[in-house]
């Protein structure tokens, strides 16, 4: 029997040889000075950066670093060398991929995903910490049959595990019609084993972004991936030496490998697990990586998992279109007295789905009635905002929007599987009861499908929304006694803590002051805790002694002081999963804000990814700050520096999202009409000279403000 370590060393030799060839070919074809750029990342070649502490910019840099990569591959029979050899294999794989991207900006032509962007890393921050994505699997295959491949992928998907595919399993998925893509959390990375470099790069960037691990800190990367990234590998028989070499790297990072290959394979507890019955891969793997899936048992005829949140139901696949923008629709959570409702009673008032024509637009309203001794009216909007996630998780059901501008599409497949109106009720019931079990003793759902009922319910709901909005508008930082901290992200970004106030929601956009309050009352020992604000130091900048004390304690001594309303003086830190990044633009004395979805350039000469890499991981970087979209229109946004009037540039899409509220704020603060029109966007310019001309032409108020620095 061949020794495991020898197989790994042999596999590394193969990968290094391939990398050497690829490098030589790239040098010959495009020359040493040709740039090496992975798209949409500020972390260069992340694996080289992580392990070698080298920022690779050109083919020449790559070539110069290669001897060092080779030195990581030593042959003494010790696990230390095996682990290092695994990393050498990953770096060699990255060399092969980097050469491809140096020659062509889009080497996979959409057929495979290839490189993953920084924005994609950041997007996963929140679902990972909330446990909505309990882990990642890398499937290296082909599976024994197409059917088994599809079953495995779908099995993981239904458990909300994020799936990366490498090799023949991708074609199998295609043949079986399994949808792939980042939004549905099944990513066809590439056909060859060296494309694992992209997955490792993804993981290493997570460590840098969320964990503030610094390049070259090998111990830091190992610790982060071992303790915080719940990933694992499923490798199908036959596992070649080169795959085993990659497996060594994965195991070094703490990611167990499960395989059905028994030949020359050596089991290692919790690390290399031989499971001859590949149909048991899922359960075996989850146990190996200590992943416990929270089961929400819901009585519906389609699959239910967070993995389906990103699924899109297109017009021609659509059975029904429940469209709140055209007909009367709404969703509402309302509190009742316990005796008024019967638990788990789901009532459909009006015709069911089969009574509507295929493809038709219909109205639909649903009301979740909840009761419980500790239930408060303030929790209603908190629950209600989660309905989008709850409904969206059903396979073949797409939910967008909220309140009375919601839209639900039910696919033909879901309908054919038996999905009916009542099942929306089942989903709401199960999700509310399980997520809020400590306050909701009883829950009943009423669903309306007749136009006249919908009109009436919608009017009723609108009155409730209005009242809630008034309450929200009245909620200011001054009007409340306490703020909340949120350390949800510490499972991922151990040094970061958010302070959530009525006028400043969490930077991820997912935790408002009301959410934090509800979270604290639901579980006082959970992620959100009360922060008193009694000992004010500087109300204008937003500094309180009590807040500082909390921040110091919650950040494990990492932070001494934060301001809540300044970007220049001790700004609040970020975990890395912020919705927007704001950075100062020195020439205009203003700031540029970019949201995560925008991949283009900004007048700072930096993309979102590059700006984002300036902060994150709980590090304070004056001049850069991550925040939620809604914070832009807050009266407290950059109050220390003069407020939203500092904003000089935003992507058009973001501007559209926030303009109504931002304009209202500017009117109130500065008496300005239509302020958002003064803010430049990518249609105006991406360079700073033109930006200055534009600001001068528009007489942007920033030009009259004090210098920022």
């Amino acid at each position: 029997m061949r020794l495991l370590f020898d197989r790994i060393f042999q596999g590394a030799d193969e990968m290094l040889a391939l990398a050497e060839q690829a490098l030589a070919a790239a040098v010959a074809e495009i020359g040493e000075s040709a740039p090496v750029n992975m798209p949409n990342t500020a972390y260069f070649l992340a694996n080289h950066s992580a392990y070698l502490k080298k920022n690779i910019r050109t083919i020449g840099d790559l070539n110069a670093a290669f001897p060092e990569v080779k030195r990581w591959h030593q042959r003494e029979q010790r696990l230390e060398n095996v682990f290092n050899t695994g990393f050498a294999t990953f770096m060699a794989a990255e060399v092969i991929e980097a050469c491809k991207y140096a020659v062509s900006a889009d080497p996979y032509n959409g057929e495979y995903h290839g490189h993953l962007s920084d924005a994609e890393v950041r997007e996963l921050g929140v679902p990972l910490v909330t446990g909505d994505i309990p882990g990642f699997v890398v499937i290296i295959g082909p599976a024994p049959s197409d059917e088994e491949a599809a079953e495995l992928i779908k099995g993981y998907q239904s458990r909300a595990i994020f799936v990366f595919l490498i090799g023949g399993v991708i074609d199998q998925a295609k043949r079986m019609g399994v949808a792939t893509g980042f939004p549905v959390r099944v990513v066809a990375v590439g056909p060859d084993i060296w494309q694992t470099a992209h997955i490792i790069s993804f993981v290493n960037r997570a460590a840098m972004i969320f964990g503030a691990v610094t390049p070259g800190d090998r111990e830091g990367f190992d610790h982060y991936t071992f303790h915080r990234i719940r990933a694992f590998v499923n490798a199908f028989d036959p596992v070649a030496d080169i795959v085993a070499a990659c497996g060594a790297g994965a195991i070094a990072m703490g990611f167990p490998v499960v395989t059905n290959d028994e030949k020359d394979m050596w089991p290692v507890p919790k690390s290399l697990i031989i499971q001859p019955a590949s149909e048991d891969f899922i359960e075996t793997s989850l146990e190996a990586r200590d992943i416990r899936i929270k089961i929400t048992k819901i009585d519906i005829p389609v699959a239910y998992s967070t993995a389906f949140e990103g699924e899109i139901v297109r017009r021609h696949d659509m059975q029904l279109d429940i469209d709140g923008s055209r007909v009367d629709c709404c969703e509402l959570v309302t509190t009742k007295q316990p005796h008024e409702i019967e638990d788990h009673e789901i009532t459909l008032i009006g015709p069911d789905f089969e009574e509507f024509e295929q493809g038709s637009r219909v109205c639909l309203c649903y009301v979740a009635e909840v009761a419980g001794k500790t239930m408060q009216a303030d929790f209603e909007p908190v629950f209600e905002r989660r309905i989008h996630d709850f409904v969206n998780r059903a396979e073949g059901v797409m939910h967008t929007g909220q309140r009375d501008n919601l839209r639900i599409r039910v696919s033909k497949d879901a309908f054919a599987a038996g999905f009916r109106a009542r099942h929306i009720g089942e989903i709401l019931y199960a999700a509310i009861k399980s997520d809020y079990e400590s306050v909701v003793d009883k829950c009943a759902i009423k669903i309306y499908t007749r136009p006249e009922d919908c009109r009436e319910i919608r009017a009723l709901a609108q009155a409730v929304y209005e009242k809630r909005d008034e309450r929200l508008a009245a909620l200011t930082d001054e009007s409340v006694d306490v703020f909340y901290d949120c350390i949800l992200c510490q499972s991922f970004s151990p040094a970061h803590v958010c302070v959530v106030t009525p006028e400043r929601l969490g930077l991820c956009g997912a935790v408002s002051w009301l959410d934090a309050k509800a979270a604290n009352e639901l579980d006082p020992n959970g992620a959100c805790h009360k922060v008193t604000k009694e000992r004010v130091v500087d109300e204008h900048l937003g500094i309180w002694e009590d807040v500082n004390e909390t921040v110091k304690e919650a950040s494990h001594g990492n932070l001494e002081q934060v301001t809540l309303y300044s970007i220049m003086v001790d700004p609040m830190t970020s975990c890395g999963c912020f919705e927007c990044i704001c950075g100062i633009e020195p020439l205009s004395n203003g700031v540029v804000i970019v949201h995560r979805e925008h991949t283009g350039m900004t007048p700072l000469g930096m993309t979102f990814s590059e700006m984002a890499s300036m902060t994150g991981g709980g590090v304070q970087t004056p001049g850069f700050m991550g925040h939620g979209k809604q914070f832009i229109s807050s009266r407290k946004f950059m109050r220390g520096e003069g407020g939203p009037a500092r904003i000089v540039w935003m992507p058009k899409a973001l501007k559209e999202m926030v303009s109504a509220k931002l304009n209202a704020a500017a009117k109130e603060l500065y008496g300005l009409e239509d302020f958002s029109a003064l803010i430049a966007d990518e249609s105006v310019t991406e360079d700073v000279e033109t930006l200055m001309e534009y600001l001068a032409e528009k007489e942007h108020p920033v030009l009259g403000m004090e210098p920022l620095m």
């Binding site: 696990l79 230390e80 909330t130 111990e219 507890p269 697990i273 075996t284 499972s491 992620a527």
Partner: protein, 645 residues
């Protein structure tokens, strides 16, 4: 909601953690400071006496001085190659060697006999109830003693009697031999090594070495193996199992080690020796509220019971009682000036403690007729009134607190966290934690075996033995252990070796940062320290179970396993008995102190190479710890190569 952040370990830097371990130099600096104190108190320590004894008598050191009859003493020199009776250097060294082994076996076994008598008297209302019924019942089943429908104490008493019969039974061999692999049992039978009654093997050894008996070295060496086995699979194993039945099988728990566990503001009561029977009672008595109240009324903050030597190992792994130190630390404890009482049982107690205690306020209490020492208060232990006696001792210590002279107090601050209590049962439990229920069986050593086969772990070493002033104390233990764990070799340790590890921090889970990547990963996944504390020196019987069970799970005989034993600082006769049963079990034993047979080339050959032909194992001797550990690593790699792994 997802995992709460609290479950995540905060990342501390490796450098920060590594700088927190105690070095040998720091241990030595503490001892040096305490020796200054000793000077001030006009007391002496082992270091002074060792200087006075150096150089040692060469004839004694080489084992060629015969004092067996009154015609002598005779010694072998170039001019006089034989003693008066004609015994040559091989006979003299061989007889002396066997007598050491027999004495060691007698010591462990007599300790076992004491415990067997206590078990014979166990009662639900007395000082000694049964704490591990499951173990009692499984032993009853193993020995064919009926238990169904019987009172558990009737069963206990019959098991105790069966155990006592192992000492003097006229026919048959030791019952526990059946716990060895089939190959081992057959080999022992074939080679005539299977031990008969324990007392008979000790007597036979003394008889063989009597004037005018065996003069041929090989039979003396063979009898050494046999009397050793009577200890390892007789006395020691009985002691271990009966102690577990009476006091509970140890489980993993947290403790601390080194002089820093003494408390400046508390009554410090030290239990020292080997037999846990009495110390168990002292620990219980000290936990009583009345005692703590009494201490407080006299100005102390409470009562701090700590252990020394193997008594420390026993109470640490059953109660988490903290460990003040090992063999050569015993005087240091009194030198701190903060020891209100030192209560001892048997073995490895310096007679020097009597006069030393007299220089301080320390009360020195002996409790066994086996260990009577001048300068002590003698309170012979009686099982019937044990708890009452223990209370009296605690009271004595408490009331002595007021006599402490603050001017004489110096407690070195060094101490280290230690995870202790890894008998075989606990090791299996830990290994179960890394099995995968979809592919693995639970309750076996397969996770460890798989890790060794794959190369993640290179092998395992049993670190045992004492301290010996002939080498730098603790240095050999600690240097060897650090090198082994850096080389991905897992360590199980007992006795003073385990305590040396504890003082240096090697029993802490943070010690994974000193390991090679393979052992470190095993420590992280299993959640264990790289050095597993298996108990007192009598618990080397647990190590024998461990290797035999691993061999059974692996499907090869013990001698083929990449597992070796090491006693780098051994000194006692018990160590000679142990080394013999370890070699008889088929495990190579690496010694850092030369056995006293060097004057006989034939004996040296027999103990290093000769036994190999009989049991498959022998001694490898090297007084340089670095050379010794390299030999162990090479030996392990050689065994791996022979297995094709």
């Amino acid at each position: 909601m997802a995992d709460t952040p609290a479950m995540y370990e905060q990342h501390r830097s490796k450098e920060e953690i590594l700088s927190g371990f105690t070095t040998v130099e720091q241990l030595e600096a503490d001892t040096a400071k305490l020796r200054e104190l000793a000077c001030a108190a006009c007391a002496e320590t082992w270091a002074d006496r060792s200087a006075g004894q150096t150089p040692h008598c060469r004839f004694g050191e080489e084992g060629i001085c015969c004092r067996i009859c009154s015609m002598g003493p005779c010694r072998v020199t170039k001019k006089a190659a034989r003693g008066i009776c004609g015994a040559d250097e091989h006979a003299i060294a061989g007889r002396h060697y066997l007598r050491m082994a027999a004495a060691g076996s007698a010591a462990h076994s007599d300790h076992a006999r004491e415990i067997a008598y206590v078990l014979r008297q166990a009662s639900p209302t007395g000082s000694f109830p049964i704490r591990d019924e499951e173990k009692l019942l499984s032993l009853a089943a193993e020995w064919g003693i009926p238990a169904a429908g019987r009172d558990i104490y009737d069963v206990a008493h019959e098991v105790a009697e069966a155990g006592l019969n192992e000492f003097g039974k006229p026919f048959g061999t030791q019952r526990f031999l059946s716990r060895a692999t089939r190959e081992r049992q057959a080999l022992w039978e074939k080679e005539g090594l299977a031990p008969r009654a324990i007392d008979r093997e000790v007597s036979a050894s003394l008889h063989m070495t009597h004037m005018g008996n065996t003069a041929e070295p090989e039979p003396l060496v063979r009898q050494s193996l046999r009397v050793g086995l009577a200890d390892g699979y007789g006395g020691s194993m009985i002691s271990t199992f009966f102690s577990d039945i009476l006091f509970g099988t140890p489980t993993a728990r947290a403790s601390e080690a080194n002089l820093g566990v003494l408390e400046a503001e508390m009554v410090n009561l030290i239990v020292h020796g080997h037999d846990p029977v009495f110390s168990e009672m002292v620990v219980l008595a000290a936990e009583e509220k009345e005692m703590a109240d009494h201490a407080k009324s006299l100005g102390a903050k409470g009562i701090n019971v700590v252990g020394l030597c193997c008594t420390a190992n026993e109470v640490a792994m059953r109660h988490g009682v903290r460990m003040a130190g090992n063999f050569l630390q015993q005087e240091n404890v009194i030198l701190t000036g903060a020891a209100e009482a030192v209560c001892v049982d048997v073995q490895c107690i310096f007679p020097a403690l009597g006069p030393l205690a007299g220089c301080f306020h320390t009360k020195f209490i002996t409790s066994s007729p086996v260990a009577r020492i001048p300068g002590s208060i003698y309170m012979p232990f009686e099982p019937d009134t044990a708890l009452e006696q223990a209370r009296a001792i605690v009271k004595l210590a408490v009331e002595n607190f007021v006599n402490r002279d603050p001017a004489k107090v110096f407690i070195p601050s060094h101490k280290q966290p230690a995870a202790v209590g890894y008998p075989t049962e606990q090791i299996i439990r830990e290994l179960d934690g890394v099995t995968n229920s979809h592919v693995d069986e639970r309750g076996s050593y397969m996770p460890a075996i798989d890790s060794i086969k794959a190369g993640v772990l290179r092998g395992a070493v049993a670190m045992v033995g004492c301290n010996n002033p002939k080498v730098r104390p603790d240095y050999s233990h600690i240097e060897i252990m650090k090198t082994l764990i850096r080389s991905d070799i897992l360590i199980v340790a007992t006795g003073c070796a385990a305590q040396a590890a504890a003082k240096a921090g090697l029993l802490s889970k943070d010690a994974k940062y000193m390991c090679g990547a393979g052992l470190r990963r095993v420590c992280e996944l299993v959640g264990i320290p790289p050095v597993l504390h298996m108990g007192a020196c009598v618990d080397i019987s647990r190590m024998m179970l461990l290797v035999n069970e691993i061999a059974n799970d692996w499907g090869v005989d013990v001698t083929r396993l990449p597992i070796v034993g090491c006693a780098p600082e051994w000194m006692s006769e018990k160590a000679v008995a142990i080394a013999n049963y370890v070699v008889a079990t088929g495990i190579d034993t690496y010694l850092g102190i030369e056995p006293q047979v060097k004057g006989s080339a034939e004996m040296m050959r027999l103990i290093t190479e000769g036994t190999r032909k009989i049991t498959g194992a022998g001694y490898i001797i090297n007084t340089d710890p670095h050379a010794l550990v390299q030999a162990m690593i090479d030996g392990i790699e050689q065994k791996r190569a022979l297995l094709g792994i």
